[in-house]
Symmetry: C2
Subunit: 358 residues, 2 copies
Amino acid sequence: MTHGKRPDLIVHEDEPFNAETNLAALRESSLTATDAFYVRSHGAVPAVDPATWRLRLHGRVERELDLSLTTLREAFPERTETATLQCAGNRRAGLMRIRDIPGEAPWGAGATGTATWTGVALADVLALAGPLDGAEHVGFEGADVSPEAEPPQRFGGSIGLEKARRPEVLLAWAMNGEPLPPVHGAPLRVVVPGYIGARSVKWVDTIEVRERPWEGYFQHVVYRLLPEDGSPGPGAGMPLGLIALNSDVLSPADGATVPAGPLGVRGYAFAGGERHVVRVDVSLDGGGRWAQAELLEDLGPWAWRHWRATVDVPPGEHEIVVRAWDSSAATQPDDEAGLWNPKGYANNARPRIRVHAR
Amino acid sequence: MTHGKRPDLIVHEDEPFNAETNLAALRESSLTATDAFYVRSHGAVPAVDPATWRLRLHGRVERELDLSLTTLREAFPERTETATLQCAGNRRAGLMRIRDIPGEAPWGAGATGTATWTGVALADVLALAGPLDGAEHVGFEGADVSPEAEPPQRFGGSIGLEKARRPEVLLAWAMNGEPLPPVHGAPLRVVVPGYIGARSVKWVDTIEVRERPWEGYFQHVVYRLLPEDGSPGPGAGMPLGLIALNSDVLSPADGATVPAGPLGVRGYAFAGGERHVVRVDVSLDGGGRWAQAELLEDLGPWAWRHWRATVDVPPGEHEIVVRAWDSSAATQPDDEAGLWNPKGYANNARPRIRVHAR
């Protein structure tokens, strides 16, 4: 088993390891099993010795910190949050059907998953350090070196200080109640609920309290939304952060042959930031009439909702379209055509699958 | 001048007074003049004597409060915020072109505006009262009695305690640097930036710290999003609160005849909650190709952005389509067809105007 993962992961790259969860595995439960959870890496899993490992916090603070894992565990209250992580490239394959995106992996709808994360609140560690006037951002740097960055560098990124101070942002050493596996960032990773996965920096060993957003490659050059005719470059486009409302179908599979009659449909829907999913609609006639799906377990404000619906399919070909609504009364864009962007991020179009009923 | 308003307001109802801002007046400035600001009322402007007026705060708190205006002004730090208010019915006219909505006013794109609001932070007043365990919501009740409610009752609504504790939520006595006019809620109104206007309760005199959301008519029956085939009723649909990303065109006017050649287009774009507008695109070919508009003054995190673009229009008929993007990489839905709902709320479709160039 590569990196402790089930063999049914869809592997996009062996080294660095990049693999998404099979939709059938995502469907099993609202909580995603660790051995099925997607992995997005930009460098090899770094060798870290927990005994000598230190977390250093510096920058615009009253007091710099240099902490062992033991101190982190002993000096701060332990917190657990259930949170969905979602790669900014989740569902890129839908954009690539519009127009190819060379050099990027064709992630399907499995570059997302939900786990419980245990560690300490970043807010508590920041409070000990004491951010100074002018502190507006908190940057994270991991131990992994990415050869694909220009120039090659350690992976990193930042979030605003206001978000960093919210209780849901964790420095986590456990996932689903077990020690964090190496491929998911052991001994310590950041978990930023509601934000793109790239901000949940793995193997974090350096935190910098800053006046400005992160200027490293993975925030200043990539993980940015460009207009359709834009070109990636330092500062071009807008930095991604908050995740837009999204959903997809987990079963039946796209293109499946199913028995005519009542058909169960199941999927996920996720709203980032302070929003939550309030409704999911399913249509068999391209969006003319919609039936409401049932929302399944509520795992709290930072987790997706699984949903299910039963539609009646007569014999023949059918397209099933889904749209989620969030607590701001926003819904998803109709289709991918208007969402294509040069790096293929943030596809949140209404999902559509085809089934053949007989 | 009715209620101190300019004669060019578009009046939907005289009593209670309901009027929206002319788009030409909205276009004048990113800050909306008080005498042009829209008014949405559900009852007559109540007669309030500021000398005997009291603000009462009760419910799940350690200490109930009963405060005069003088105490409010003297006991708490004064705060000013620039914030956009937007009625949940803004742009309803676009939904009514799909299918009529009897009993509701056909608000255009002028049921919104941006002002500076001065008063005290609700958070500071709540801190004095001390919310108890179980407190989750903060309700507001105004002095205005609404005969349209079932049963007739004072206007009211609630927001979550977490939002209520954020510094941007005000109890305001001034608007654009002048005393709050009676029609806008004098002597005191709530201002909840990023939320539908209905939560910014005018003439507020009672605040209740609650375990559950407001159960009055204006939150439990109306100001809720229903599915297309739903019927309004207690608890039906989802309560509105956060405002979804929206935009509209302020000039040229829809249907205008304009000179062929370069044409300036100006409008507003607004993202509710913690999101902000990052890009506005303009298309002349129905969304095939988009040009980026220039974002004008940044009035802070709770205000809309005005934007402008220049497009080149050859002689003939043209449709101009606009879409805004927010900091979560979300954009607006294509059109109103999928957004129609029985009460006509939350139309945030991409705006489209037609011009004839010659």
